[in-house]
């Protein structure tokens, strides 16, 4: 039921590893850690979704606001290793067409 967010930094490149469950209880923590990275100019952020075991619309909401904030601040944000259930959510909502999401499953490789 818990969430862990790990951030690796190399100059202005960030890899954010999200593991565990993203729901209304844990989403604020994710937002608090992810948003500040997007509020700096010229950051290059990859969010690794591989170890997410549960996610619902509260997670989508966090990624949408981070994505918008990155655009605004001329940073870039990419979601990587979306698979199974997580990829399903991006596809069913059509968000995969708008945001940078890389899938780990076959249906829609490298979107």
């Amino acid at each position: 039921m818990n969430l862990a967010v790990g951030i690796e930094e190399a100059q202005n490149h960030y890899t954010v590893k999200v593991s565990g469950e993203i729901d209304v209880y844990t989403a604020p923590e994710l937002k608090d850690k992810l948003l500040p990275l997007t509020e700096v100019h010229g950051n290059d952020i990859q969010v690794d979704l591989k170890d997410i075991t549960y996610m619902d619309s509260t997670g989508l909401g966090v990624f949408i606001s981070a994505y918008k904030s990155a655009k605004e601040h001329e940073s870039s944000m990419e979601l990587i290793h979306a698979k199974d259930r997580v990829s399903r959510l991006f596809k069913v909502t059509g968000l995969d067409e708008i945001m940078n999401v890389r899938f780990d499953d076959n249906n829609k490789e490298g979107q």
């Binding site: 039921m1 469950e21 729901d23 209304v24 209880y25 549960y54 619902d56 619309s57 509260t58 989508l60 909401g61 949408i64 606001s65 994505y67 918008k68 655009k71 605004e72 259930r85 959510l89 069913v92 909502t93 059509g94 968000l95 067409e97 708008i98 945001m99």
Partner: protein, 160 residues
């Protein structure tokens, strides 16, 4: 009358308890023999309904509760999520429900809405959804064990 088992949970409308409800629903669904995929669908749909209660129902009150009812039938699970908080104008909301491409025709990501996917997901993941909002809000969601029993029903939820 068709036989069913009824199970009920009443929890504080707090974010802390959404995960507990999710564990309970996955227990009920796995005992019923739902597939892994269907169990995950149920977890998301029920979490969305409970999250809505946590986030929207009791804005004007100090605290409230969410009531979850599970009706376990031979061939399907019906889950009712209800609150005694604010009702909402379903006709207005209805227009905001849908995947992004259909609804927003967003070409510009900055116009993308950040919320509003909850009811859409409930509807996408369950076989049948009914919403009643006369006194508080009641969302009734049905999922069939055997997917072939499901009629063509992929529209926006109907109001009853």
């Amino acid at each position: 009358m068709e036989a069913f088992d009824f199970m009920e949970m009443k929890v504080p409308a707090k974010a802390d308890y959404v995960g507990v409800i999710r564990l309970s629903i996955s227990g009920v669904a796995s005992r019923m023999g739902f597939s892994y995929e269907a169990i995950e669908d149920l977890k998301v749909a029920i979490s969305e309904a409970v999250t809505n209660v946590v986030s929207h129902a009791y804005e004007k009150k100090e605290k409230g509760e969410v009531l979850i009812g599970f009706a376990v039938y031979e061939n399907r699970l019906e889950v009712m999520v209800s609150d005694q908080g604010e009702s909402f104008r379903f006709e207005e909301i209805r227009n905001r429900i849908g995947p992004v491409d259909e609804m927003d025709m967003v070409t510009d990501v900055s116009k993308l809405r950040e919320g509003g996917f909850g009811l859409f997901l409930i509807n996408a993941l369950m076989d049948k959804v009914e919403i009643n909002n006369e006194y508080g809000v009641i969302v009734v969601m049905t999922k069939y064990l055997d997917e072939t029993e499901v009629g063509l029903n992929d529209e926006v939820p109907s109001q009853v």
